[in-house]
């Protein structure tokens, strides 16, 4: 295994850039997160576990991780299709669609939440059509998933699109000329080389969904045990001036997310080495 430093590039500046990177990451990421962990140590183990195993907190963990996972899977699938269409075909208004994909990045999430709630509420454009069918999106768990799909979509598209663009068409043509069906070409030739990028997009979309707050609180009904997300629990605790409880929940969230992202990264490295 190659767990050593990569050999520095022939260009000078390795020491300087590494030093800069470490300082920068420490100041902006490690110190705030370290502060969070340090704050958690104020709690005894029993206090900490009491905060975490509270049924209301557990219900919110289930919802946050479940809804984020569903949203990330949906984004993985549809993001790939959008990226494919944008990378491979030319059509009228392609530039506009391309720009639209980035919109969820730029739009304030609270605005997104309010807009989605307005559209999917019983009186809204889409909600009005779904209501007779008995489908309720706004003010339910489904609303949470819809908001998470919205904010997570660009992550998959933007990580996969450049890989598809760089993917040599000749590979596909070679596969076809050797007698592969299009299904075989897709699953054996194209998908393996897209897999690392897809996993990255999935991980980013998933992580983003876990931390999302602004849009959810407007489209979810925020009912305890039903549609409360973890970030809302944290805000709830903060508004009771329960800093310690909020930190405990935040820390669990952080650790769980870290483990999941670490696993996804490991799979990604594994699949990349395998495909090379």
């Amino acid at each position: 295994m190659k767990w050593r430093f990569r050999k520095p590039s022939v260009l000078p500046g390795f020491g300087l850039t590494l030093g800069f990177s470490l300082t920068y990451v420490t100041l902006l990421v490690l110190i705030p997160l370290g502060g969070l962990l340090l704050y958690t140590t104020k709690l005894s183990w029993s206090e900490f576990s009491a905060v975490i195993i509270d049924p209301r907190v557990l219900a919110s963990f289930k919802l946050s991780f479940g809804a984020s996972l569903i949203a990330a899977v949906i984004n993985l699938f549809f993001g790939l299709i959008i990226a494919w269409a944008l990378a491979r075909y030319n059509f009228l208004g392609k530039k506009i669609v391309d720009a639209l994909v980035d919109l969820p990045f730029a739009l304030p999430t609270a605005v997104a939440g309010i807009a989605l709630a307005a559209i999917f509420a019983q009186t809204g454009w889409i909600g009005r059509l779904l209501d007779p069918l008995g489908i309720v999106i706004a003010y339910s768990r489904a609303g949470v998933v819809v908001a998470l799909i919205f904010i997570g979509l660009p992550f998959v598209v933007r990580t996969v699109q450049p890989v598809i663009e760089e993917f040599e068409k000749e590979f596909e043509e070679a596969a076809t000329s050797l007698g592969a069906s299009w299904v075989q070409t897709f699953t054996r030739v194209i998908l393996p080389s897209l897999l690392p990028a897809l996993l990255t997009g999935f991980a980013l979309s998933f992580a983003r969904a876990l931390g999302e707050y602004g849009s959810i609180i407007f489209i979810s009904s925020n009912m305890p045990f039903v549609s409360e997300i973890v970030p809302l629990i944290i805000v709830t605790k903060l508004s009771q001036f329960d800093y310690v409880g909020a930190t405990a929940v935040g820390t669990v969230m952080l650790l769980a997310t870290f483990i999941i992202l670490f696993l996804i990264n490991a799979i990604q490295i594994y699949s990349r080495e395998k495909s090379l």
């Binding site: 003010y139 009912m223 305890p224 508004s239 009771q240 001036f241 409880g245």
Partner: protein, 339 residues
């Protein structure tokens, strides 16, 4: 050479004068008022009135900067070091939190101004759709099975805590026991389809999204909604009993001592009790406390039986602990009605 020297001396003298003169003449004072969301318009108007008043009696120019947000979040900012001179928050508990967590306010702050340091008050009323199709007249009607009630989450919204306690107080008065009051409030919460995180969010859900039959709201917000959205869409229903909501004001001792603004900050809050301050409050739909101004604005504020939080809940400290802390009454209710 000599000419140059004189010129320099002259410009120096001018510079020194320029520095000294205004401070003899009129000082420029800046105050920061940290308040909660719905008071924005009220304080905008009041600040101008106070600036004029202070200029008249002291000759100094006061500019008051305003900061608005959720009451609890605003209190947290002050605890974390926002240099507020005065706080004018939605509930005494938030001011208590600043006193307790940051030691920035004298613990006896509530005794420093009259009426529990609440220069204007409000109460909790209902906003219903025009014509009151569900026939909602009192708290009992909110507990009926076919009524959908919109109220924010008391855990995140200071305003919603007043709603919760108002309903609870009604239950206590009407049914006589804690047990029955809990049962009554549970029935109301079972009718709630959405718990918004803040009062404005709940108003939006009710008004813009068309969700629910009744919105439990502060009286000033309800009147404002009607004025803004046209009286042809909503009606206000005043229940037989409600809670006396007392938004609290206090100077932030630690900050005014550091900045030397204690005198003007105190005067700023005292002036809220003056005829003019009271009139501006009434104009912005807060109930005045001055008897004369109450008479003037009788037509805006219907009479109803009001109980105080001190009388029924023994003050905010206990109410908070019993009802809204983790594992408190609110959590118990939701644990029992979870679906």
């Amino acid at each position: 050479m000599k000419f140059l020297y004189t010129q320099r001396l002259f410009s120096l003298a001018v510079a020194v004068l320029a520095l000294i003169v205004p401070s003899i003449h009129a000082a420029d004072i800046s105050l920061l008022n940290v308040s909660y969301d719905p008071t924005r318009e009220f304080y905008k108007e009041y600040n101008q009135a106070f600036a004029k008043h202070w200029k008249e009696i002291k000759g100094d120019n006061v500019t008051v900067r305003q900061s608005h947000g959720g009451s609890g979040a605003q209190a947290r900012s002050v605890i974390d070091g926002l240099d507020a001179d005065v706080v004018t928050l939605a509930l005494a508990y938030d001011v208590d939190a600043i006193a307790e967590k940051a030691h920035a306010i004298d613990p006896n702050w509530q005794k420093r101004f009259t009426h529990n340091s609440a220069p204007y008050t409000s109460t909790i009323v209902f906003l219903v759709r025009k014509g009151n199709p569900k026939g909602i007249h009192d708290w009992d009607d909110l507990a009926k099975p076919d009524v959908k009630v919109i109220t924010p989450n008391p855990k995140t919204s200071g305003g919603a805590r007043w709603n919760h306690l108002a309903a609870w107080g009604y239950g206590l008065e009407k049914y006589g026991s804690e047990e029955k009051a809990r049962e009554f409030v549970s029935k109301i919460y079972a009718n709630v389809p959405v718990l918004d995180s803040g009062a404005r969010g709940a108003t939006n859900t009710f008004v813009q999204r068309g969700l629910g039959d009744v919105l439990i709201a502060w009286e000033n917000e309800a009147i404002l909604s009607i004025k803004e959205l046209g009286p042809d869409k909503f009606d206000i229903v005043v229940p037989s009993i409600s809670i006396l909501a007392e938004p609290s004001v206090s100077i932030v001792d630690k900050n005014v001592e550091k900045k030397g603004t204690k005198e003007v900050a105190t005067a700023y809050l005292e002036y809220l009790y003056s005829k003019e301050g009271q009139r501006i409050a009434a104009k912005n739909y807060y109930r005045p406390t001055d008897p004369e101004i109450i008479k003037e604005s009788e037509s805006t504020f219907p009479k109803l039986k009001l109980f105080t939080i001190d009388a029924l809940f023994n003050g905010w400290g206990e109410a908070q602990k019993k009802h809204f802390a983790d594992g408190g009454e609110f959590d118990k209710i939701f644990a029992s009605i979870k679906r």
